[in-house]
């Protein structure tokens, strides 16, 4: 089978009315971020001693990591299982993961009371701490993602290094250096690709273990020793829907034909995965007899039901339908349901389920917290748009320009 991959730079102009609006929301977020840095976490958040973690951890970090799962799931499918037909989605998924994780790290940093000490886990180790493991894994994985992206950068500049004036002398050495780097990466890329998948499995699951230590402070509908397994499976579930959603939005935004043949095939994996996830969720609450909490009407029981019905069962039914998988609108809606379902699951686990014993008020995010969260998402979108304009990320579906890649991102012979 001859599949085509033709990643190109997007030529459409950067600023549109939509982009202007996104920029405004981003700017608003940055203003609140500045206030947080000057006046402290308490100044713009609704956090208190009973509610130490809010949406910056529940959404920006926990959901952010899950939604960046497109990176390792497509790498596993395309590179490790070597299914070349999925090559076209790997680069966009890699870029999303890269930006996603960068902003996860930023969100952690701004939530830290002593953000300038964020490097401490590198020297002060605590092997018992789940958070330590998550932190170290994420640090290494971010580096791996940048290494995986590097060939795209070297490829662009090889034979294109043109410093001006005094620096012109450096042109040939820099070019040589880039070629060396490129060759080295080409030979070793498989190490990083496998490492990326292993690291992802580790920290995606450990994010679930984080709340286990909260014990009875966490509502029994969610508090279970298999939280790490549920987090890992749900991350794998949401990887492809993210790729599908982004690909469809990018196609629309850059006026390209949607890659439906690839997306439909990707979609066929999602239904069974959701089925496995649902089975674990159901068996878990049956074994722990936690289902009794669903019989009473409460915020928790309602949120849990929404999560299961609209985030798992409904999209699973949709993804099992061939008609839905082959319609751009159908597969978009089904993907969005999975994505929102996983975001809701992370929000439920970290915020809704968390009932501290002495809370006199319940937590609801402040304007400042929401602004920063939205702002970060918008900056990510803006950076994505900028990068696909200057680097070949998104493939243009056409029959010309066959560019077959082997296991590495950089094409090799």
């Amino acid at each position: 089978m001859e599949m085509l991959m033709n990643p190109s730079q997007m030529t459409k102009k950067y600023f549109t009315p939509g982009v202007m609006l996104v920029s405004l929301i981003a700017l608003n977020g940055l203003i609140f971020l500045a206030l947080r840095l000057i006046f402290g976490v308490g100044a713009i958040t609704n956090l208190d001693n009973q509610h130490p973690w809010g949406i910056w951890i529940g959404i920006d970090v926990a959901a952010g990591v899950a939604l960046a799962a497109g990176g390792f799931t497509t790498a596993a499918l395309g590179h490790i299982m070597h299914r070349e037909e999925y090559e076209v989605v790997i680069r966009p998924a890699l870029l999303t993961a890269l930006l996603g994780y960068t902003f996860v790290a930023l969100s952690v940093a701004i939530d830290l009371g002593r953000w300038y000490s964020i490097w401490h886990p590198l020297i002060f180790w605590n092997g018992n701490s789940v958070l330590f493991e998550v932190g170290i894994c994420v640090m290494i994985y971010v580096s791996v993602l940048y290494i995986e992206f590097l060939p795209i950068v070297t490829k662009k500049f090889i034979g294109n290094v043109r410093f001006k004036g005094m620096l012109a002398k450096l042109n040939s050495p820099v070019d040589k250096l880039l070629r060396m780097l490129d060759r080295g990466l080409d030979k070793t890329m498989f190490i990083f690709i496998i490492a990326g998948v292993v690291l992802s499995c580790l920290h995606q699951s450990s994010l679930g273990t984080l709340m286990v230590i909260a014990g009875p402070k966490m509502h029994p509908l969610w508090q279970t020793p298999i939280l790490p397994l549920l987090f890992l499976i749900s991350a794998i579930c949401v990887g492809f829907p993210m790729v599908i959603m982004e690909s469809l939005i990018a196609s629309r935004s850059f006026k390209l034909k949607p890659e439906m043949h690839v997306l439909s095939k990707l979609g066929s994996y999602i239904g069974p995965m959701l089925g496995i996830y649902l089975a674990f969720k159901v068996i878990d609450i049956l074994i722990r007899e936690a289902f009794v909490y669903l019989m009473v009407l409460s915020t928790e029981s309602v949120m849990f039901s929404i999560e299961i019905i609209f985030g798992i069962i409904l999209p699973m039914r949709l993804f099992f339908s061939k008609v839905v998988r082959e319609s751009p609108l159908g597969i978009f809606i089904a993907s969005m349901l999975v994505i929102l379902g996983v975001v809701l699951n992370r929000l439920n686990n970290f915020i809704v389920a968390y009932n501290p014993p002495y809370a006199t008020t319940s937590y609801f995010p402040s304007i400042g917290e929401i602004s920063v969260t939205l702002g970060f998402v918008c900056i990510e979108v803006l950076m994505y748009r900028l990068i696909v304009k200057y680097f070949p990320i998104i493939s243009i579906p056409e029959k010309a320009g066959v560019f077959k890649t082997k296991y590495s991102i950089q094409g090799s012979k």
Partner: protein, 301 residues
């Protein structure tokens, strides 16, 4: 693996395997600081007898003085209006006394609240940088030089004790009772113990205190509920409470006897037992990658 021979591929894989096992070899010495290794038989504790406490709040004042926090005049502490609300320790007070109605006898019950200094502390297990440690004398203390302010200790604590100074932009602190670690190191009593005018709080070896409490319950069964809170809860705590009513009525959380970090630590150590599972996963994925490559190559030929 077009440019890469099979041998190179296997060589690199085994190199990674060996270096990872190398890391695994070092790790146990780093993780050794888990509390059960340093729990001393002679660790100290405090027995709080809520049936004796008169709610004078002098302990609050002494605590602030001992920790260089603004304390005000001791006379201000006679003001009973603070009892209108239930208070919790925070950055401005490491211990507080709350007053509860007693339906049984009519006279109110005063409950001093502070860190329980667990024997298997969740905060020590949770802390990303190991800023908390359980000391030989039983106290659980916080190390400012390590803390990054992530507040995971507050998520983990079963008694919801650590507090954070949300309104400081730089060097905000996690604050909680430190069992007067500096004072006891000099041979002094903890500040609250020293000032208590009615000996409602008794300082001593934890083992001895458990016996004292058991005898009190035996001798005065009508005065005490047969329950020493902290004797077995979350694996035992250094501070233990006695009361004439059920502790549920005094806002204590109902906790089991299993240590708070037990489940998460066994999951964590299971996933990382000598790095075998991650290395095995790496090898498995490497194998899958290699087989898929070869399969595709054969198909092409």
């Amino acid at each position: 693996m077009a440019t890469q021979g099979r041998r190179d591929f296997l060589k690199s894989l085994s190199a990674i395997g060996i270096s990872t096992i190398g890391v695994a070899g070092i790790t146990p010495s780093i993780t050794k600081a888990s509390p059960e290794n340093i729990l001393s038989k002679d660790r100290m504790g405090v027995l709080v007898d809520t049936t004796v406490c008169i709610g004078c709040r002098k302990c609050e004042w002494a605590c602030k003085n001992a920790h260089d926090m603004p304390s005000g005049s001791i006379d201000d502490y006679e003001n009973e209006s603070v009892f209108d609300n239930k208070r919790r320790p925070d950055y401005s007070a490491l211990t507080v006394v709350n007053k509860y109605q007693n339906d049984k006898t009519g006279s109110p019950i005063n409950v001093k609240v502070q860190c329980m200094h667990c024997d298997q502390p969740a905060c020590v297990s949770a802390c990303i940088v190991g800023a908390f440690s359980k000391k030989e004398n039983g106290s659980v203390v916080w190390d400012e030089s390590k803390c990054i302010g992530c507040r995971y200790c507050m998520v983990a604590c079963p008694f919801q004790i650590p507090s954070f100074d949300y309104h400081k932009a730089l060097e905000p602190e996690i604050r909680k009772c430190d069992f007067c670690f500096d004072r006891t190191a000099e041979g002094k009593l903890p500040a609250c113990i020293e000032i208590c005018p009615v000996e409602a709080i008794t300082y001593g070896r934890r083992e001895d205190l458990v016996q004292v409490a058991q005898e009190k319950i035996k001798n005065y069964p009508e005065r005490y509920n047969n329950h020493i809170l902290g004797e077995t809860e979350v694996g035992g705590t250094s501070w233990m409470y006695m009361a004439g009513v059920d502790f549920k009525n005094l806002d204590f959380p109902t906790l089991g006897d299993k240590s708070a970090p037990g489940v998460s630590e066994s999951i964590q150590h299971g996933i990382f037992s000598y790095f075998v599972p991650p290395v095995a996963l790496y090898a498995l994925l490497g194998g899958v990658m290699w087989i898929s490559k070869n399969r595709d190559k054969k198909e092409e030929n």
